[in-house]
């Protein structure tokens, strides 16, 4: 849900958000490229926007808790822990 809200906020001039979900079976190579997951059945969810993008110098910080480039009060941080629904 945060990913979709962030996608929206990344498009101040409007644009398109695409949400896809599919079932995949990852082999050893594909699993290894995703943070050393175990090979096996997975659900893959993609959230794409056509917005402003993330500056290269900001990209390393995207997954830090509470990281944001947004103004205060404008939605949750893009780095809001993706695992926070736990």
């Amino acid at each position: 849900m945060n990913l979709v809200a962030n996608a929206r906020d990344a498009m101040p001039k409007g644009g398109k958000v695409t949400i896809e979900a599919d079932s995949v079976v990852l082999d050893r190579d594909e699993a290894g490229r995703r943070g050393a997951l175990e090979p096996g059945p997975y659900v893959r969810i993609r959230v794409a926007d056509t917005g402003i993008g993330i500056r290269p110098e900001t990209q390393p910080f995207v997954f830090e808790p509470f990281f944001t480039t947004k103004d205060k009060g404008k939605g949750r941080a893009s780095g809001s822990p993706p695992a926070s629904a736990s």
Partner: protein, 165 residues
């Protein structure tokens, strides 16, 4: 994400957009909460508990689980809200359950502030970020008990009795 055995990544180009990809293990059959033990044998209580948790789903689950076991529960979405609730609450507060990692006022700072108003307040900290800090060391430093997220209402109730008894 790692807690769920999953992975998240993204690619982004300035001015063109961003794509996030989340990969989660596919569950076969009905979901099974981790290490759920003998739910019926976890006893409840009559104490008053303040739950501070910024994630609404987790907060609701904790509050409902505790109320169902007889506790009086105050719920706050952040530290400032918790401080306000405590100022307005004249009865006892036996236990603070707070997320350790929150924006603005973190869990241990909040506990420190509340202990001034309520000396002897017991504290149960929760967090999902157990890989980013040394839990036993942190608990020794700030004095409290720790419960790792995700937890089930039963595991929470179990831990609450441990701390209160």
């Amino acid at each position: 994400m790692k807690q769920h055995g999953g992975h998240i990544s993204f690619r982004s180009e300035e001015g063109k957009g961003t794509t996030f990809e989340v990969t989660l293990p596919r569950a076969e059959g009905a979901p099974q909460p981790a290490s759920e033990e003998t739910p019926a044998q976890v006893s409840g209580g009559r104490e008053t508990i303040l739950v501070v948790e910024d994630e609404p789903l987790v907060r609701d689950m904790a509050v409902e689980g505790l109320r169902a076991r007889g506790y009086s529960v105050l719920a706050a979405e952040n530290g400032a809200h918790a401080l306000q609730l405590v100022r307005q609450h004249f009865g006892p507060i036996d236990l603070l359950i707070t997320d350790l990692v929150m924006p603005q006022i973190g869990g241990s700072e909040l506990a420190g502030l509340l202990e001034k108003a309520r000396p002897g307040l017991r504290v149960l900290y929760t967090s999902g970020y157990t890989e980013s800090f040394d839990v036993p060391k942190t608990m020794r430093a700030i004095g409290g008990t720790f419960l790792r997220k995700p937890y089930t209402p039963t595991i929470l109730a179990q831990k609450v009795r441990e701390v209160l008894d």
